[in-house]
Symmetry: C2
Subunit: 214 residues, 2 copies
């Protein structure tokens, strides 16, 4: 069964990819360049797709969005609106649906989690409504389904599933900054570190190693 | 009142722009490069915005969409699915809404007409549902309104209003092909020619002239 997986190269979408593979999906991986501070995440996405012999599309979006994630201002230590790229998920999902329309695909997977609910476009009410809208927007889209398998899961639960599925965590990147190792201070680093710590497992990304090649 | 007008440089959105100006809106004009066969439309959009001293943003979208409008295959003489760029309006509106989120704007104008209903993402049910979805997707978007002032209007009615408002039709481009004059054969040319003919008015674009500079 063909599907589209929105693959950022972060930890969440990587685990979701492996969940899809276990369920027998044949994912087309879709990533976006939208002015991120660095290319490490995308390089991880590329490697994850290649490792699993999956098609990988990378789309360039206009870099109009001012956000701490796209290099404007400092990266804050906790959630604030400066890290929000407006309607990012809506744009990703609408592009994904356009690919669905062209390739007769009906299933899109997006890795929003229980911890993303500060972002309006990560909430299920919003994604549900967008799914309704997308179904009306094409000739082939009436059965379109936006899957959110991680939406009830915390970071700890996601890492746990990832460990069970053998996700190559050294090929995932979470840190908002673009150093050769994770900064350890940003919100994404903190959440990731806490999750591995809670499970008493070492995060391979901490060692550097392969990621220093990215 | 600040608003966003999706300005393609075609006849419909040009008339809509002048309707907005008459109503006292201060529009930010937004156009997209998405692999169109030619730049004439965008050049018209640029001139229309400049003529009215309006800010004009042009965004580049990834050119992934195979369609007769983006140079794949021949341009058909009547509607068929080869001229559909999937979810084009949804993408335009979602980018527009992202700009609204950043600039505290609540009103977007899109020039879909009564004659566009073959395109699923031009129908009011679809646009209505997308509006609902977009309102949920941001921090500032709960009052977002997608205005479709042309949705009940035929091409003849639109040209009539445009003539009353003094729209510079020589700065609008409709033909799907990219010649120095309109081809006369494509669907867009036919509709435009028939509208001017019905009103017994000469379309300045037929004379070439200024458009030959585009």
């Amino acid at each position: 069964m063909k599907s589209i997986v929105l693959l950022s190269g972060g930890l969440d979408s990587a685990v979701m990819l492996y969940m899809c593979l276990r369920e027998g999906w044949k994912p087309l991986c879709l990533s976006f360049r939208y002015g991120q501070r660095h290319g490490r995440e995308l390089e991880c996405a590329r490697r994850l797709a290649a490792l699993n012999s999956l098609e990988h599309l990378v789309m360039d979006l206009p870099e109009i969005f001012q956000s701490a994630l796209t290099g404007v201002g400092n990266i804050p230590p906790s959630f604030d609106r400066s890290i929000v790229v407006p309607l990012r998920n809506y744009l990703f999902l609408t592009f994904a649906a356009a690919v669905c329309e062209q390739r007769d695909i009906s299933d899109i997977f997006i890795g929003v989690t229980a911890e993303d609910e500060d972002f309006p476009d990560c909430r299920w009410e919003a994604l549900d409504k967008l799914e309704e809208a997308l179904r009306l927007g094409g000739f082939n889209l009436s059965n379109l389904k936006i899957h959110t398998p991680l939406i009830g899961m915390t970071k700890v639960e996601i890492v746990k599933v990832g460990l069970e599925l053998g996700v190559p965590f050294h090929l995932t990147w979470s840190c908002y900054a673009g150093g050769s190792r994770p900064c350890g201070g940003c919100l994404a680093c903190q959440k990731r570190m806490n999750a591995f710590k809670a499970l008493k497992v070492e995060d391979p990304i901490e060692r550097g190693g392969e990621t220093s090649l990215l």
